[in-house]
Amino acid sequence: MSVENALPITHRQRLWLYTLGGLVMLFLIAPSVIIVIMSFSDSTLLQFPPQEWSLRWYESYFGSVEWRDATIVSVKVAVMTAIVATLLGTAAAYAINARTLRLTGLINALLTASLIIPVILIGIGTFFLYARIGLNNTLTGLVIAHTVQALPLVVLTVLSGLRSYDMNQEKVARSLGAGRFSAFFQVTMPQIRFSIVSGALFAFITSFDEVVVSLFISGGETTTLTRRMFNALRDQIDPTIAAISTCLIVLSIVLLSAAQLFGRER
């Protein structure tokens, strides 16, 4: 046990705590593990553990035009969202961090509003608005709606990067002859780039996994993967979804590890 936590309590005395904590951790991780294993089953019955192994559900996923199109839509929207949200969010975080504007509280509240406003309300509201301006079932509409949801994550991530960064460095760069933009790109950005990349990754996941708003505003050719999955789940439990879920879990792991790696370098 490390010195920082060295209280005069032995591990043995804490056994009950470790047991309980371990069980909760199992509860948290088990569903993902079970789904990954079941996705390789040969049976339609979703037995666990599977009796026979096969890749038939992956074949069914990749072989289906509908699933493939939906995946492409989701990837396109997520990439665009990550780009737009990162640009807007980084700019906004920089402005908030400068602390010279009044009403910073209100600005913060507005930018993080989509985290606390019930998503269902955003979904209905967006659908209602888009119906008037013809953005329903369009990629643009999806990107805009997802950007609004991803924006707070980028702002918060970049802001925390900026707060652990020594703003004096940007000041000194300016006194040494660099203009404001130049100082940001030469000195500040290289040091908060990990936060920016993390923010972009979170924006990507947020968009890719988004269900409720997409349910309302996507459809037809722009049906997202999550919307198609939701509809499929309403009808029956199709094992193809286990294969898709596994892909989504792997995607989350990859993106999170990337964010973690970048974070550690910081």
Partner: protein
């Protein structure tokens, strides 16, 4: 600037408000620059969140004939189905929040007491589900809890039960699925606040003669309460407006607030009624968060900046 200097020379000595106008103009220029950085983001939020919600609020004030009325709101007290929805929603929210506290507190406590390296490994178990699609996790619980699912087949094999238990497509399924989804929202802020508790406070407590249990009860637990409160508020608020899990795991029997909103607008196209539901839901959410912020001076949205 040359004009300012000229007038200076004319006055002969430095004026009290020397260059004040030029400096004020400079300050305004900087503010405008920063505002320009903020404006695209603010504009999108305004256009996609504030405007539509304001519009819906406006709609909720009119009945189906276009007359200004409180009919959309009066319905909540008159129709039994609405009352049932509210009761169900609050019941689910309370149970899920309680379950999250029950499971989340020991986990967060354990994480906070583990050495740094072990804690960061265990934290993966919280963060990975946090970032896994809600849809995927709901699907997983459907598979696990269904009639011929994992839990039932194991219990039958073990001879614990003779008939499969109805776990999915009902109230218990919704509660189990939502607890799994909400747990990280409680554990993350709680863990962060527990990490800030000074170990020396606990050492001092023991040094002053308190047993480990008494130290926990009298020192650690009170100090962890702000973190717990922020977790509880965020979980409760998210539960009130949650849609995916009850829609997929409720089996049509558990109608929660958000589902009612979806049905009213999509199925019946009754925008006024759906909007009124949304307004009340938003009111509850903001009131709870506002109350929390007022009482503890902290922002509940902190959970998203702790990873």
């Amino acid at each position: 600037m040359s004009i300012v200097s000229a007038s200076l020379d004319h006055a002969g000595r430095p004026d009290r408000a020397l260059n004040a106008d030029a400096l004020a103009a400079d300050a305004r220029r900087e503010s405008r620059g920063l505002l320009a950085l903020l404006s695209p983001g603010l504009f999108l939020v305004f256009a996609v969140i504030i405007v539509p919600i304001g519009w819906l609020f406006w709609l909720s004030l009119f009945d189906e004939t276009g007359q200004l009325s409180a009919a959309n709101y009066a319905r909540f007290f008159e129709q039994a189905s609405y009352i049932k929805t509210f009761v169900t929603t609050f019941k689910v929210a309370f149970i899920v929040t309680g379950a999250c506290v029950l499971f989340g507190y020991p986990l967060a406590y354990m994480l906070s007491q583990l050495p740094r390296r072990a804690a960061s490994i265990c934290l993966i178990f919280v963060i990975l589900p946090f970032w896994t699609s809600v849809l995927v996790r709901t699907y997983a619980w459907l598979v696990i809890l269904q009639r011929k699912g994992l839990v039932n087949s194991w219990l039958i094999d073990l001879g614990v039960i003779g008939q499969p238990l109805p776990l999915a497509n009902n109230f218990s399924g919704v509660v189990i699925g939502m607890t799994h989804i909400m747990l990280p929202f409680l554990v993350l802020p709680l863990y962060a606040s527990m990490k800030t508790i000074d170990v020396d406070c606990l050492r001092a407590g023991m040094n002053l003669g308190a047993s480990p249990a008494a130290t926990f009860r009298q020192i650690f637990f009170p100090l962890s309460l702000p973190g717990l409160a922020s977790g509880v508020v965020i979980v409760f608020v998210l539960c009130l407006g949650f849609f995916v899990t009850p829609a997929l795991m409720g089996g049509g029997k558990v109608i929660m607030w958000a589902m009612r909103m979806e049905q009213t607008t999509s199925l019946y196209s009754n925008w006024g009624a759906g909007a009124a539901l949304g307004v009340v839901l938003l009111g509850f959410t903001l009131a709870l968060l506002g109350l929390f912020q007022w009482l503890l001076g902290a922002r509940a949205t902190g959970v998203w900046s702790q990873r």
